[in-house]
């Protein structure tokens, strides 16, 4: 048990408090997605986490996170990837409906070191 806690502590220290995904929490707690999502929701409710939205470039050769916002609406309707535009890719602009929205959280209370 102590070994497990120690491993979890090491893993938590590797998180960047600016951007934490549900999958980070699921993997660290070695639990299922539903519980990991519940933990994040509770952390938001208690004021430890803030919820954010992001979209990533759709080109397989890229995948850059192109915009973040505190709400879905904040992402805007049209998104564009500057790397793919620079590289003269055929597609570098998308409507929000064409992109997958990834939710992440930031840590807002207390302090811990970034590894």
């Amino acid at each position: 048990m102590r070994d497990l806690i120690s491993k979890s502590e090491i893993a938590v220290r590797k998180l960047n408090p600016k951007r934490i995904y549900v999958e980070n929490i699921r993997a660290i707690l070695n639990t299922n997605q539903r519980i990991a999502q519940f933990v994040c929701d509770i952390a938001v409710r208690l004021g430890y986490f803030e919820k954010h939205y992001s979209v990533e470039c759709k080109n397989d050769s890229c995948g850059k996170l192109i915009k973040t916002a505190d709400s879905l609406e904040g992402l805007g309707r049209k998104l564009h990837c500057d790397i793919c535009e620079d590289n003269h890719e055929e597609l570098y602009e998308w409507s929000i409906e064409q992109l997958n929205v990834f939710i992440y959280y930031s840590y807002v209370k207390g302090s811990y070191e970034i590894a």
Binding site: K14, K18, A27, T31, Q33, L91
Partner: protein, 281 residues
């Protein structure tokens, strides 16, 4: 270029030659076998054969859930032509053909044209679970001509099809996160990645392995860090006991699986999905 006959021949061309020879009892080149099949079979029997052998097509599979239950049997898709209705396990199974047009510039006729294809689409549905499989056209438009043509513009075939499904069912398709299932298979050496993408906090990390090296085998310590992060589209080699296709792509964070080669098994895509979901927490 776009008669029904030509489009059906292109459709048959998407199946592996050994399956076509087995069906037709013909030898010869793939084109000769396709000619023979088209001349001797009805459109209905070709549609049936495509439906029965969908698992042998190159395909892109998307795993979704919805907010409320869907009944695909009652859903009308305006541009899909239904060629098969049945069941697969607990799922309703539907197979459709959709005509897509790939634009090109023809240097001989000095005109802009389209090359049309039938794209087979398979949909599985049980309540809130919706799985969509779309045949991926592997051949370049240029390969269908003896003279020079230039593809013009890119068509988002998969986006267009997924959008039509979303509109027809009247609700959002929520991508299924299969990170834990994929990681379980990876940790237990069923699979290993040779082009690995994972999301770090402030960047996307891509590791392209040299020659035939694979990630876990080469970097066991970094693999442990990787296991803590969301996976993005990664190319895997299969090392497990089941006889399924040797290589495939998985974007575990959005439930997207791509098999870009002909499967030997009747439905390697379903086998792979079942393996992942059986271990997906």
């Amino acid at each position: 270029m776009n008669s029904q006959e030509q489009m059906y021949k292109r459709l048959l061309d998407s199946l592996p030659v050994n399956k076509l020879k087995e069906w037709s009892n013909q030898t010869g080149t793939k084109n000769e076998v396709i000619e023979h099949i088209y001349d001797h079979e009805t459109i209905q029997s070709i549609n049936n054969y495509i439906s029965m052998n969908f698992g042998h097509l190159h395909q892109s599979g998307f795993l979704f859930t919805t907010q409320t239950a869907v009944n695909i049997g009652n859903t009308v898709f305006p541009t899909f032509s239904n060629i098969y209705n049945g069941n697969s396990g607990n799922f309703q199974e539907r197979i459709y053909l959709k005509t897509i047009q790939l634009p090109y510039y023809d240097s001989e006729s000095d005109s802009r044209e389209t090359l049309n294809f039938f794209v087979p689409i398979r949909i599985l549905n049980n309540g809130r679970v919706v799985r969509i499989f779309i045949h991926t056209i592997g051949r370049n438009v240029k390969s269908y001509f003896d003279h020079e043509v230039f593809p013009t513009g890119r068509v988002s075939i998969e986006d267009d099809i997924l959008e039509e499904v979303r509109i027809a069912i009247g609700q959002e398709l929520i991508p299924k996160d299969i990170n834990s299932g994929v990681k379980h298979l990876w940790r237990n050496d069923y699979i290993d990645g040779y082009l690995v993408k994972n999301k770090r906090a402030l960047s996307l990390k891509t590791e392209v392995m040299d020659e035939n090296n694979t990630f876990k085998d080469s970097y066991p310590d970094e693999f442990e860090d990787l296991m803590l992060t969301p996976l993005r589209r990664t190319k895997f080699r299969y090392n497990g006991p089941d006889e399924i296709v040797a290589k495939f792509d998985i974007n575990a964070s959005v439930g997207h699986i791509v098999i870009n080669r002909h499967s030997e098994g009747d439905n390697d895509m379903d086998t792979l999905i079942n393996l992942i979901l059986a271990n997906n927490a």
